[in-house]
């Protein structure tokens, strides 16, 4: 059985569903009443369908000639750096506020993405982030996360 990325992906999905299915037996679900089924009855049906479909995709993937080329042209290093930037920004937003997390994240993100006009990036980023902050604070009255240093900023 030859392995290609689609087959590996489908098997990974199968494994996730199998783990979720197995974990459903360890849950405290109580006794069903009035002809009702168990609280995990329907989720288990979905998980079984999930496993069957993932297995079928894994089988069919062997005949898929394009399955081996799904990662063609992918800049992996850039992808992982971008994901890391977004994850750090998401966590930092809660610690140092929206403006101080998102403005640097925007600048680093755009630079890593491949845009090299730093002046434009900083100006656009600052205008956009501050405009968004002001819009939510003043117009929509939905305060975004704030820093520990500058009041509502």
């Amino acid at each position: 059985m030859s392995m290609n990325p689609v087959r590996i992906g489908a098997l990974a999905l199968f494994l996730i569903a199998a783990l979720l299915f197995a974990s459903s037996f360890a849950m405290n679900v109580g006794e069903p009443m009035f002809g009702d089924v168990s609280t995990v009855f329907v989720p288990r049906i979905f998980l079984i369908a999930w496993m069957v479909l993932a297995a079928l995709i894994a089988i069919v993937a062997g005949r898929d000639r394009e399955a081996g080329s799904i990662f063609a042209g992918v800049a992996w290093r850039r992808l992982w750096i971008i994901i890391a930037i977004v994850a750090v920004a998401a966590v930092a937003m809660m610690e140092i506020g929206f403006v101080f997390a998102c403005l640097p994240a925007f600048i680093v993100f755009v630079t890593v993405f491949g845009y090299r006009r730093y002046g434009v990036t900083i100006v656009v980023g600052a205008l956009f982030v501050f405009a968004l902050w002001a819009l939510f604070l003043e117009v929509f009255r939905l305060p975004l996360p704030i820093s520990p240093w500058f009041g509502t900023l």
Binding site: V6, M27, T39, F71, M93, L142
Partner: protein, 493 residues
Amino acid sequence: MENLAAAVSQLASVEVLLAILIGTTFGTIVGALPGMGTVLALVVALPFTYSMSSIAAITLLLCIYASSVYGGSISAILINTPGTPQSAATVLDGYPMAQRGEANLALGWCTAASTFGGLFSLVILIIAAPQLARFSLRFGPAETFALILFALTCIAWVSRGSMLKGLLAGVIGLFLAMIGTDNMTGMPRFDYGVGVLSGGLALISLLIGLFALSEVFMRAAKYVPEKRESKFANVGFRLAPWREWRIRIKALVQSSLIGTLIGILPGTGATAATFVSYAEVRRTSRRAENFGKGEPDGIIASEASNNAVTGGALVPTLALGIPGDGGTAVMLGALLIHGIIPGVQLLNNSPEVLTGIFIVLAIANVLMFVVGALGAQVFTRVLRMPEPLLMGMVLVMSLVGAYTVRGNPLDVLVAVIAGVAGVFMRFLGVPMAPIVIGMALGLNFEESLRQGLMFSGGDFLSFFQQPIALVLFIITAVIIAWPIVKAFRARKK
């Protein structure tokens, strides 16, 4: 008449008028940006609606929904890249026309056809939605269960890529809806002791992750700097003379009808409608030999049908609470956030809201024409905006959107995780829309199944004794079996 007066009085506010104007312009612009699409436009706009009145929020989203489909055609015509998948067929004739130096005429054909398609489907929506909602009074748990099953099968059937992957996406969406406290017993499930999971996953955070963040990640992964061509003469807006329109009225009506009917089928969406309509109009057109060389019939076929889908897809959404496509799944979530429950309740309890929706859609379609006519030059400039800057903005909006759903920091992390999962799914070719539709329908699906089983004392066969449910089950079975039979026949030959 009372409803009309009540609806007009609700809409006559500065907030709603601004929502119409901003929604239509924003929808058109985001639709025009290649790869952004209707769902992303709606998702990005969602956080702005939380503090709005419900009617203004729905107005904003409806205008974005209607106009973003049209927006996709602008980039299809000007830079040979459809802004949304729904406009893929517009490229075939729109771009050759622009290359001939008639970009203004192509935009004129496309804008007018889009407006006509949108208004045509609105008429059908006004007639069909209340009727269907009344008919749904006959629906018990068995019928609801069968209908959702049918809807999910339709979604998978027309999914881009393979049916198996579409079905898998739908099933994953259904399962994700199960995480959290069981509504019928109050028991937690699949929360693994994590507090935020016991309340269930926030649909909006998942949407932001799956559609917006994963798009950002994918663009970053495959970004190659390039200079986009947009050096056409006559980038503007010009309508063809009436004699040109007169000979194309049949194509216009034909495409609008196809778009509306396909739109009504749950989960089918505008992309399928566009290609069916293009093929059909080409088959019946007297100018068939000009198709693919800049023939207005081709633009009409694509644009009238994809905009007609918007009204069609709202029929099951508003009448039954079953989303017609990814866009209406987001709309459904937004309606529920604002306390509007689609279906017969909407018809009986707040008919003025339904009437208001009809009026807003009519205004949005007309305004779309005005925005298209006046904004052609502006759109050309927007299309030149560097992709990294654009994606940076989408990223920041996504983080804000995920946070403002419930003010819960963990929702932002859920969105980021969903974004990474979305990238993985996209590589595998698993479509995103069925996941969202599955999530939107998951709890209803479970509730109807369990209620049906409780009524019948645990006898599942009783589901097949209800005539409406039986018909829906048979259609579902045929839809699932058809590709298998087709493949079997092909192998035999």
